[in-house]
């Protein structure tokens, strides 16, 4: 779907490049682009859209080279939902979605028809003839999603789609993202600084920090790794000789007050018990650590604190 090699983007006048030698290949599906504000997520999306020229390196999006003359046509195959409000306040949702459809290359009649359909798809069928100035934040986000979908793109870029939404609005928006991929078969790149959003919908994850890729991989792979993450507690504190052999079980992340935070080598849940028996220790508690994706993110962003 997307691949790039040693991609570098330098804004004019900036001391440092916004993207520093990024290399990556992304498969079809929902890709979560995660990172703190200023990590380079929006810059990467704009570069992939062909709005910013790479200062070094290159890549391909849907088979079209970045910076090539076909980049303008490529934008007709991509939908983009920007982070900021990009709505014409005095126009109705229907008028503007039809307008964006026409700008993507649809003839006026098709653009009008599809504006109705896509606004129904995002749940704005009743409100589509009202000026967007009277819309709530959630409705505005859905208009932005509708304009990104109106021309049936092969790929959509969603930049912080849950910005400013309440928990219910966030849930609805994320359900829509899943629906877009499941029902329309559209590839999705979702940029967010909210781990919960990405975790909920993405099947691939790319973590960005300060213009670099800190980590990337499939969510299933990350979850598999996390499912081996356990906390062990022994009846009596381990002696020095026993502690020295704990790494036989896997990578030790933390040892504190008789608790051992480990990433097990072996997926077999009985392995820690066998190890304890063979080393004369009594294992009394094994706690799986399922909800620690945030630690993966933090480790990727701050490896020095890992």
């Amino acid at each position: 779907m997307i691949s790039f090699e040693s991609l570098e983007v330098h804004y004019p006048g900036a001391a440092e490049p916004a993207l520093k030698g990024m290399s990556l290949s992304l498969e079809e599906g929902i890709v979560g682009l995660l990172g703190p504000n200023g990590a380079g997520k929006s810059t990467l999306l704009k570069t992939l859209l062909g709005l910013l020229e790479p200062s070094a390196g290159g890549g391909r999006v849907l088979g079209v080279g970045l910076g090539s003359p076909e980049a303008a046509k490529l934008r007709g195959r991509i939908g983009y939902m920007p982070e900021y409000d990009a709505l014409v306040e005095d126009a109705t949702a229907y008028e503007q979605v039809a307008f964006w459809g026409e700008l993507s290359g649809l003839d006026p009649e098709s653009a009008r028809d599809r504006a109705h359909e896509v606004l129904y798809f995002v749940g704005l069928d009743e409100a589509r003839y009202r000026a967007v100035s009277g819309y709530s934040t959630g409705m505005r986000q859905r208009v932005k999603l509708a304009q990104a979908l109106v021309h049936s793109p092969e790929l959509i870029f969603l930049d912080e789609p849950t910005n400013g939404l309440d928990p219910d609005g966030r849930r609805r928006m994320l359900e829509l993202v899943l629906k877009v991929h499941a029902e329309l078969g559209t590839g999705v790149i979702l940029a967010s600084h909210l781990l919960g959003d990405v975790e909920r919908v993405a099947d691939q994850l790319v973590i960005l920090d300060k213009g670099r890729i800190s980590a990337s991989g499939s969510m299933a792979g990350l979850r598999r790794a996390l499912s081996r993450r356990v906390e062990l507690r022994f009846l009596d504190p381990l002696d020095e000789a026993q502690e020295a052999k704990v790494p036989e079980l896997g990578q030790l992340h933390e040892a504190r007050n008789g608790y051992y935070d480990l990433e097990l080598k072996d997926a077999d849940p009985l392995a820690p018990f066998r190890w304890a028996e063979s080393h004369g220790a009594v294992l009394v508690q094994v706690t799986p650590r399922h909800d620690r994706l945030d630690e993966v993110l933090l480790r990727a962003l701050h490896p020095e604190n890992a």
Binding site: R75, G76, E95, P108
Partner: protein, 287 residues
């Protein structure tokens, strides 16, 4: 039951659309037509047009009616037709009011997109920067041209209809007045959209257009007064718009000649288009 199917139909043909510049201009025109001031100015310009048409009609009637003929004969020093009379078809209050209307409409054309941050999203579609600025200049020019063209054509059509090609209006009137209307409209469109790109809100855009037009008129007047040459008035777009009807109709009462008019008009068209291009390029919009 929903009126429209809940699932989207197969992928549409994306190659059958209209040129992006036309799509942008049409969308902006719909926005302009929704504004109430359009109706107000529509009324004003319609009244002015009816006045001009009535004028031509009465000119014809003077040949048919003795009473009106005597009245017209008495007023002939005032109403004498000639180059000046024809130039006035597109001059005077008409262009002053048009500048005001163009400031109100054109001032917000680009500034509104800046305020709502629509431009980066536009460039995320298959839209080139040239599509954008061409759409803005053309729309800002289309409105004054649509108002000026009836003033250039309808009195002539009425005159031809009533008295044939040797009536009140010159037979060649449209050949003179239509190019004048086009030049004035392009000048107004370029200045309005260029000045609008300097503003971040529509209201500030209106201020920028009026400031540029009135400010340059004042500068031109000062230079004229100080240096004693009417050619300096060509720095003012307002003076240029007032001068072109006189030049093309052959009036001798103009403030400056062909060379300053051509240079001034070309300079304004280039300058304001360049400003518009520079202020709306994608990197500017994205950053």
């Amino acid at each position: 039951m929903p009126i429209y199917a809940p699932s989207l139909p197969p992928k549409p043909d994306l190659s059958s659309g209209r040129p992006p510049a036309m799509v942008i201009a049409r969308f902006d025109l719909q926005r302009v037509l929704r504004q109430k001031m359009g109706r107000f100015f529509g009324f004003i310009f319609t009244m002015m047009l009816l006045w001009r048409l009535g004028y031509v009609y009465i000119y014809y009637l003077k040949d048919q009616n003795a009473v009106i003929g005597k009245m017209m004969a008495a007023a002939s020093p005032v109403l004498a037709q000639g180059a000046e009379w024809h130039a006035d078809m597109l001059g005077g209050w008409l262009t002053y009011l048009l500048w005001f209307l163009v400031a109100l409409i054109g001032g917000g054309l680009v500034a509104r997109d800046t305020l709502y941050r629509v431009r980066p999203l536009m460039y995320a579609h298959p839209v080139k920067p040239s599509d954008y600025w061409i759409a803005k200049v053309c729309l800002a020019a289309l409105v004054p041209f649509a108002i000026l063209a009836p003033f250039a054509l309808l009195p002539w059509l009425l005159s031809v209809g009533l008295t044939g090609l040797h009536g009140v209006m010159w037979a060649s009137a449209p050949l003179r007045l239509l190019p004048v209307a086009l030049i004035i409209a392009l000048l107004m469109g370029a200045v309005a959209s260029g000045a609008s790109s300097l503003a971040s809100t529509p209201r500030a855009g209106v201020g920028w257009v009026l400031g540029v037009v009135l400010g340059l008129e004042a500068v031109g007047g000062m230079l004229y007064g100080l240096l004693g040459s009417g050619s300096w008035m060509a720095v003012s777009p307002m003076a240029l718009a007032a001068e072109w009807p006189k030049l093309l109709c052959g009036s001798t009462t103009g403030v400056f000649g062909w060379a300053p008019a051509l240079i001034g008009t070309a300079a304004h068209l280039s300058l304001w288009t360049l400003i518009l291009k520079a202020r709306t390029r994608p990197s500017e919009a994205v950053l």
